[in-house]
Symmetry: C2
Subunit: 340 residues, 2 copies
Amino acid sequence: MSKPKVVVTRKLIDHAQALLDSNKDLEIVQWDSEKPAPREWLLQNAQNASGILVMLTDKIDTELVSTAGSTLKTISSFSVGTDHVDTALLKSHNIRLGYTPTALTDAVADLTVMLTLMAQRRGGEAMAKVLDGEWPQMPWHPLLMTGPQLGGSTVGFLGFGRIAQATVKRLLGFGVKKVVYLTSRPGEGAREDHYGLLGGGKSEVPIQPAKSWEEVASESDVVIVGCALTPSTKHLVGKEFLAKMKKTAVLVNIARGGVVDTDALVEALDQDRIFGAGLDVIEGEPNVPKDHPILKQKRCVLVPHIGSATVPTREQMAEESVKNLLAGLRGEEMVNEVKL
Amino acid sequence: MSKPKVVVTRKLIDHAQALLDSNKDLEIVQWDSEKPAPREWLLQNAQNASGILVMLTDKIDTELVSTAGSTLKTISSFSVGTDHVDTALLKSHNIRLGYTPTALTDAVADLTVMLTLMAQRRGGEAMAKVLDGEWPQMPWHPLLMTGPQLGGSTVGFLGFGRIAQATVKRLLGFGVKKVVYLTSRPGEGAREDHYGLLGGGKSEVPIQPAKSWEEVASESDVVIVGCALTPSTKHLVGKEFLAKMKKTAVLVNIARGGVVDTDALVEALDQDRIFGAGLDVIEGEPNVPKDHPILKQKRCVLVPHIGSATVPTREQMAEESVKNLLAGLRGEEMVNEVKL
């Protein structure tokens, strides 16, 4: 009997690659590059595969699953999201799905604080002034390049899952005075307390559920978007929301671009109705051309979806996706498995 | 008898201006602009002044003190530093000197964390890619735009005063595993424990004095320069120091430009011998022309000395400098007075 075949659509990182390679009982077919595998390559090689390890750029659909055939037992995705996977299809074929949702929490929370501080302290604008050679001509005065400060502020979250709570854990050291958050059940508390911060735990500041998005918008000095994109959160931060925000407040989005109405944000920034913004995601990404209107807003910092982009996090995600693949083949427990 | 005269070299901010104006028993002569008062204006108006409130751009020297004459009781400086003041001269004339060293701690510590994260997460480079319209063409791969991560790291400080300790207070929430610091007496602990972090206090991670700069350089994943510029710290971070740093480490300077040898830093960045840098200060500032070699280093973030640039901090500094001025005139205790 031939060895079970696994298809891997990308070269992996050190330890993860070694872990994969150590399985001499498997036939490993791997796209040997850090660039995406072409769809044709994946379809050609999927035939008779028992497992497929994919990136978020690989679509798992009827065509692929049919091509693989009845041998296919498991899909392992190197990603936190599963938008690229037809989960109903996998369920109907009894194919297990692994993913890597927890590894990236710290990296994204770090980036959230970076974007918050950059939005408040005019990080992009400050760098641009220096790069443009303006520093020698900037006359010092007491309000030059000033922004708001985290100390004493209220931070509001839309969505209060693991990443949002990890962000709060970091922000407490900056002296924030209050945290409010909106869950999918307004007025109700978070389902899970990931760091012992809720219910009078380690935190010395009140961390409370909000009754409405209006409460988050109007009370917060920093609004952090940390919720999933669903029909009810699509454009939740739009014209009305932005109009209720304080003039000195900043908006940070590290979740999904579609939660924020980009046109409304550009208008609010352009008219100085909020102080600034820090974005890791935006509608239509990565198609953000050089002349995109958001790029003209000097109080807005936009980075190219690098939330999870740290070496330790990507190494952990790669290792977990190999472990999930192997567990799927062997009928063992995965590190993280999607309940189909 | 005429009212005592005070000279103020800049328009102040809301509350501070109101506090000053409320003193109807004083003759207030004030430069009515947010731009610096010309030296000639200051000299013309200093005559017979009892107090002078100055910015860090105003030099307090023999010429000014002689011009003011025997009425001069106090100088109040709107600044953390007193390099612009001839302190020996004031002492010999029995003139008191107020300054505002503590107000800015939180603002500078916030900026230190921002620069640390930007250096690790390639903040400047990431923004530049988006602004240059490169995002649509960036193929995703597991190590794209990755950097090191604060979790599990060792953070080393050169100097461990109030700002450095306030920075540690913030960094603990990010999961750093160890803090080492060098004082002016290598191997000895910090003289003051500003936040109860030392000696097994609130902190769960070891915070230890280093025996040498070599120890800080070689052990740290993040090196933060927080010391004063003195003959012994001048170019402390030079070729040798940078050579001992880890390839994955970042350098952050929020103290004084001269502690870091700029040429050596440019070379280290250019040859990828350290991962990145975040600078609020640089030698020769503000004279950093557009073609300065540091600006060609895409892993280096440089902002124009905005450490204390938050509205609440600048308001507090303005208020304290007015309070110091009034206390100096009335023989009362200042918020912060330089021991001459």
